[in-house]
């Protein structure tokens, strides 16, 4: 037993150096005043209305895109259920999902500017063919609502990647037992499939929420002005060199983000212990 414990050492050291240490350094700055001493003044800035509004927008955006992404992604997983795991369909969808799930930042901004930008393909088509002006009330693509579609674009594939293994681990014997007892496909899904999958589904949903909440690159390249969501506020706090003491505000904002994420993570961890009931 003690010999096997040494096997845990390399991973522990790695996580300590590249996860624990940087996190402590980053969050620690939130408690530093301008003179470098300990203070709670910087953290108190989290109560500012502008900061609170940004947190509200971030949570709203993340929840909306996580729910839509999880439902659509789970549907795609279900559609793939009968496909051969090593067949062309599955490997194509797997590869496409992996690429698109991380299709963030600059490329996603380019794609949606070309689609629903002022001169975008869909914008022009709707205008010329149907007479619909999607920007009749002003251009919303570069503001908060404009982030919804791009975010969904990377949420759905992430759901496919994370939820597919759970769906694939449904045991055929359960379907046989269901059929033997006179059950239909409907009773199989309602009584067996969905209850067993529910914790995995909700776990993936929280993963999607976290993914959107901490996403920075897409918003950073798409919205050049303003800071409607928290990551963008951190960026402006980090990069604005004109206002003294702003880098410590970044630490406070970081702390606020981590608090929200901790709540999400506790929910995730509860769900996982529920999912574990069906294992072994």
């Amino acid at each position: 037993m003690p010999a096997a414990a040494f096997g845990l050492l390399p991973f522990a050291v790695y996580v300590l150096l590249f996860l624990a240490l940087p996190t402590l350094i980053a969050v620690g700055t939130g408690f530093l005043g301008n003179d470098g001493g300990f203070t709670l003044d910087t953290v108190a800035a989290l109560g500012d209305p502008v900061v609170l509004a940004a947190f509200g927008s971030s949570i709203w955006l993340s929840a909306l895109t996580a729910i839509i992404g999880a439902v659509v992604g789970a549907l795609v997983c279900y559609a793939l259920l009968g496909a051969r795991p090593d067949g062309a369909l599955r490997s194509t969808v797997d590869s496409l999902s992996s690429v698109i799930a991380q299709f963030g930042g600059a490329m996603l901004a380019f794609a949606f500017t070309a689609t629903i930008g002022i001169q975008g393909m869909v914008t022009l088509l709707l205008q010329e063919r149907l007479g619909i002006d999607i920007f009749a009330d002003g251009v919303w693509l570069y503001e908060l609502p404009g982030l919804v579609l791009p975010y969904i674009y990377f949420q759905v594939p992430l759901m496919i990647i994370t939820f597919m293994p759970a769906l694939a681990s449904l045991k055929p014997t359960w379907a046989e037992a269901n059929a033997t007892l006179g059950g239909t496909a409907r009773t199989y899904w309602l009584r067996i499939g969905l209850p067993v999958l529910a914790p995995s589904f909700l776990g993936s949903l929280l993963l999607l929420f976290a993914n959107a909440f901490s996403s920075y690159a897409t918003a950073a390249t798409l919205t050049s002005q303003g800071a409607q969501i928290v990551p963008l506020q951190i960026r402006s706090a980090l990069t604005s060199e004109t206002m003294l003491g702003r880098e410590n505000l970044a630490g406070a904002l970081a702390l606020g983000m981590i608090l929200v994420m901790t709540v999400v993570m506790i929910g995730y961890s509860r769900l996982q212990s529920r999912a574990a009931r069906w294992q072994r």
Binding site: M1, A5, L8, F11, Y14, V15, L17, F18, L21, P22, T23, L24, V27, T29, V72, V76, L80, L81, G82, A83, R84, P85, S98, V99, A101, Q102, F103, G104, A106, F110, A111, A114, M121, Y153, I161, P165, A168, P172, A175, E176, A179, T184, Y188, L207, A210, N211, F213, S214, S215, A217, P231, I234, R235, L238, A250, A254, M257, I258, M265, Y268
Partner: protein, 290 residues
């Protein structure tokens, strides 16, 4: 009675062909639109109207030289980082997960929380703390681009963990490893010949995500002032949006092919194991190919 049970290929209650086509076709169509819009954008002829391939031809004639040479270097950086990150997942994460699962079940929750933790620490937060760590690291191993793989290994941890864990939950690892041990296998044999083949789908999914994360990473590289594919694309887009979109499309296509190839590699290796399934056709073709 049998009509209701979709147990074909061992999968319970798979959807019908029509349902599958409707879902995949619908979602696929919607997801194709932004890609098509990017292609349409690159073919526009400016104020004159109409379409041609002029911009593509110009870019290919000049090649990735001169103005665009940095893109090629950035691509090489990103691919190298992807390899390094997958290596971290395979060498550090997978053995640790299996060791905890088999020998230290009480540490499972701890490992899980540890692995999911990076998701609660956004890249933009992590990068603030990573900067001092990397400046110390630079004294010992230099400040090469490859060192970013250490940071990316942390970034992909939650995704790789979940993919592998989902698979791990569906496989009775303890019984498998005890059986293998009883039959005289060493720990290396158990790991490489019993556990890894059974967890191939999860490990492969984890590797997929790792590669995709690294190819799309922007935040850490840009804030630590290192060049990767994404940061280079942003630089190009400032002067020349058309070329940036063309290069993005090419990058997407190459990343897709790369992942497809990796996926195929995994399924090729799976074939010999299929010889033990009771389907006669697969067993013979599998035997020929191995």
């Amino acid at each position: 009675m049998t009509a209701g049970i979709g147990t074909a290929r061992g999968v319970a209650h798979a959807p019908g062909r029509l349902t599958r086509m409707l879902i995949l076709g619908g979602v696929g169509l919607v997801f194709a639109v932004p890609i098509l819009a990017m292609i349409e954008f690159t073919l526009r002829r400016g104020l004159v109207g109409g379409y041609d391939f002029q911009r593509w031809i110009e870019l290919f004639q000049n090649g990735l030289t001169g103005e665009y040479a940095p893109i090629l270097a950035a691509l090489v950086n990103s691919v190298g980082l992807a390899v390094g990150t997958v290596a971290i997942v395979l060498v550090l994460l997978v053995p640790t997960m299996l060791l905890v699962h088999i020998r230290f079940p009480r540490l499972r929750r701890t490992l899980e929380i540890l692995c999911i933790l990076p998701i609660s620490i956004p890249a933009i937060v992590l990068v603030v703390g990573l900067a001092p760590v990397f400046s110390v690291l630079a004294r010992y191993v230099g400040s090469g681009v490859w060192t970013l793989a250490f940071a990316y290994g942390i970034t992909v941890l939650p995704f790789a963990y979940r993919a592998i864990q989902s698979n791990l939950d569906g496989v009775d690892v303890r019984t498998l490893s005890e059986a293998a041990r009883t039959l005289g296998a060493g720990w290396a044999g158990v790991l490489l010949r019993v556990l890894v083949p059974n967890l191939r789908r999860g490990i492969l999914a984890g590797a997929f995500i790792a590669v995709a994360v690294v190819l799309g990473e922007f935040t850490i590289a840009s804030l630590l002032s290192r060049v990767n594919l994404q940061t280079a694309l942003v630089v190009v887009s400032k002067n020349d949006p058309y070329s940036a979109v063309i290069l993005s499309l090419l990058a997407l296509f190459v990343a897709f092919l790369l992942l497809l190839a990796i996926g195929r590699l995994g399924t090729e290796r799976r074939r010999p194991a299929r010889a033990f399934t009771p389907t006669p056709t697969t067993s013979t073709s599998g035997g020929d190919q191995s």
